[in-house]
């Protein structure tokens, strides 16, 4: 039986997570009388998950090396303030208000600032040997304070119009045609990548999945992509905004109105791109191999000639860069930079990684799992809001689920040993 599952490359942990997510979704839909599994709610859920999911990608790498980063929420707040001031106060004076390049400069500045902070903290951890818990606990206070300092606590708003699209909303989606195009390209890419990997293993004479399982997995993945595209395209832009869009395009608003679909939200596409890029980094590069080797046995990695200190610093740098991207998404979504942005995010990000199967003992974790973990947590919160559960009770439930998820994981790991 075990051999058979091994041959299928069946991942019971991923299957369990998907099962739990399905149970949560169906449960909330039942309890809310069909209000949960609507295109609108699912679309909003995906947008609300994006920022945490982006940071969770980096947190997996950090935790895999047996470290922790408690400063991600504060970094997000600080970077958000920097790019808020940059695009609302500095750039309008230098290049003019609503300049087409504003959003690009802001995004690059966010990634660079985040990466610089991450590399700095990583250097303290790797080269000076200060525990990451302490360095990033200090960072939590420092960057939160620094975020206040940028404007003496003032909120910066509004932000650049093009930049706002990064955060989602009616204008922050790619529309119907592009959504179908992305879905088709994604399916083709999945099929091609799976086919290539299988053929390569076969050319070396390694065992591969049976053909039926290979095709079943491929079809399931493509069905998920097509389903997501269908849901995103079933969510209509509200009539008021739709009318403005039609009139801006030079058309006239018909009496019965028109159906304009949202399509995939831009922040969700950014999160998925970040997930794919980080997964590639973790599984296909030397850097990723060293990250996991350090997590499994730091001494062994050193004896094998791996520069463990440099790798560790780069891990924190990657985490910082991802915080910069998340800062763009969350500031754009609010259309404002506030010094309180990202408060408690560090806990949600760590929880997402851990629910997603990342072991705090190091060496084990997947990006996809962490992103699913972020979705599970956001689903719980959104569902409880739909049901009108009080905010304090929401925290109680999320906290309980975190502990329960890790307990199940511990039991599961013992089971496979």
């Amino acid at each position: 039986m075990n051999d058979k599952l091994r041959q299928l490359e069946f991942d019971p942990r991923l299957a369990g997570m998907l099962g739990a997510l399905a149970a949560i979704w169906i449960g909330f839909d039942f309890l809310s009388g069909g209000a949960f599994l609507t295109p609108r709610n699912l679309w909003n859920l995906s947008v609300q998950t994006a920022s945490i999911a982006i940071m969770a990608c980096g947190m997996v790498l950090v935790i895999v090396t047996r470290n922790i980063d408690l400063s991600v929420g504060a970094m997000l707040g600080f970077v958000g303030m920097i790019i808020g001031v940059l695009q609302a106060r500095l750039l309008p004076e230098l290049i003019g208000l609503e300049h087409p390049a504003t959003w690009i400069i802001a995004v690059i500045a966010a990634i660079a600032t985040g990466a610089a902070i991450g590399l700095f903290q990583g250097a303290l951890i790797a080269y000076l040997g200060i525990p990451s818990f302490i360095v990033t606990l200090g960072g939590l206070l420092v960057w939160r304070g620094a975020a206040w300092w940028v404007t003496q606590g003032q909120t910066v708003a509004p932000l650049d119009g093009r930049f706002q699209r990064i955060g989602g909303g009616a204008t922050g989606a790619v529309g119907e045609t592009a959504t179908w195009a992305i879905a088709v390209i994604a399916c083709a890419a999945i099929a091609a990548a799976m086919h290539y990997a299988r053929n390569r293993r076969r050319s070396f004479g390694f065992p591969v999945r049976p053909t039926w399982a290979h095709i079943a997995v491929m079809l399931a993945a493509c069905a998920a992509v097509i389903g997501a595209a269908w849901v995103a395209n079933a969510y209509a832009v509200p009539p008021g905004i739709a009318r403005r869009l039609v009139e801006e395009a030079g058309g006239t608003w018909p009496a019965g109105g028109v159906f304009i679909a949202h399509g995939f939200a831009i922040p969700v596409l950014i999160a998925i791109a970040a997930g794919i890029a980080t997964t590639w980094l973790a599984t296909r590069t030397r850097f990723g191999r060293y990250v996991f080797a350090i997590g499994g046995n730091t001494e062994a990695a050193e004896l094998a000639g791996v520069d463990t200190k440099r790798t560790l610093m780069l891990v924190f740098g990657t985490m910082g860069a991802l915080c910069g991207i998340a800062a763009c998404v969350s500031a754009a979504r609010l259309n404002a930079a506030t010094n309180a942005a990202g408060t408690l995010d560090e806990l949600y990000v760590i929880a997402a990684a851990v629910i997603g199967g990342t072991s705090l003992a190091g060496g084990i974790g997947t990006i996809a799992g962490a992103m699913l973990g972020a979705l599970v947590m956001q689903s719980l919160q959104s569902g409880m809001i739909l049901l009108g559960v009080d905010a304090p009770l929401q925290n109680v439930v999320v906290g309980g689920v975190l502990v329960l998820a890790v307990w199940v994981d511990v039991v599961f790991r013992r089971g496979i040993k």
Binding site: F204, F206, T285, N297, A301, A304, G305, G363
Partner: protein
């Protein structure tokens, strides 16, 4: 005269004032097996960690084929063809056999990404020689038995054309059948001209495999001897009492 394959001369290292290795000199020829013996804490492992680049000697000289070399890191040691199988095996438990064999020396594709398929194929080839029954190539090495893990560690050492092999307590964790396998392997590598340092605290493990023995006590070299010139009991006397028998060449650590 042909230079020795490896020569360590008057090597010393201290940790916090305690001389873990004190002016020790040992050498090794091609195709020769030298057993480094001594109690736990005698300084054997520390001495070989200097040769493998894990520690840096405070003083002394290391020569490889007559040339003085500076070994500052494990990477340097590997560049001179010095490979080490540590007592702890030094495996990353959470990744598979191929990832461990190639750790730090990964094969990459022309785009600079990891070439896992080639690495797995090469690992399968070298493992077929070492342990023909080994099948679990895609699982983390944590799931493997002690002997299988040992095979992975050995594969890592010999795959990259080692000229000098250091084996630290190679049979300590193994059953009789696996111990015999390691013995056969030592013989085969010796025939290929590889010089081997065998580290052990148990003389019975290594006496039949070694050409020479070097005995350490309290960080100092008691003496070296050809296996044919001394008896097991005499070597035991060197290990326990630090007494150098007539057939051995005394070192600075020999009791008067």
């Amino acid at each position: 005269m042909k230079p020795k394959l490896v020569e360590m001369r008057d090597v010393s290292i201290a940790f916090g004032g305690i001389k873990a290795v004190d002016r020790v000199s040992v050498d090794l020829d091609e195709g020769e097996v030298v057993a480094l013996l001594g109690h736990n804490g005698a300084g054997k492992s520390t001495l070989i960690k200097i040769l493998s680049g894990a520690y840096r000697a405070d003083s002394g000289e290391i020569r490889v084929r007559g040339e003085t070399v500076d070994i500052a890191s494990p990477r340097d040691a590997k560049r001179y063809g010095i490979e080490t199988i540590y007592q702890t095996l030094a495996l990353a438990d959470n990744v598979d056999a191929a990832a461990n064999v190639f750790l730090g020396r990964e094969r990459t594709t022309r785009w600079g990404t990891l070439d896992d398929a080639t690495m797995e194929a090469e690992t399968r080839k070298v493992m077929a020689r070492l342990n023909p029954h080994f099948r679990r190539f895609t699982e983390p090495v944590r799931a493997l038995s002690g002997g299988q893990r040992q095979s992975v560690a050995i594969a890592r050492a010999i795959y990259f054309d080692a000229r000098v092999l250091i084996m630290d307590e190679p049979t300590a964790a193994l059953g009789p059948a696996e111990t015999r396998q390691v013995g056969d392997l030592v013989g085969e590598l010796k025939r290929q001209g590889i010089g081997i340092f065998l580290i052990s605290h148990d003389i019975h493990d290594v006496f039949d495999l070694a050409d020479r023995v070097a005995v350490m006590k309290n960080g100092r070299l008691v003496g070296t001897a050809r296996v044919g010139d001394v008896t097991k009991d005499e070597v035991l006397g060197m290990i326990i009492l630090g007494k150098c028998p007539p057939g051995a060449e005394p070192g600075p650590g020999a009791e008067a």
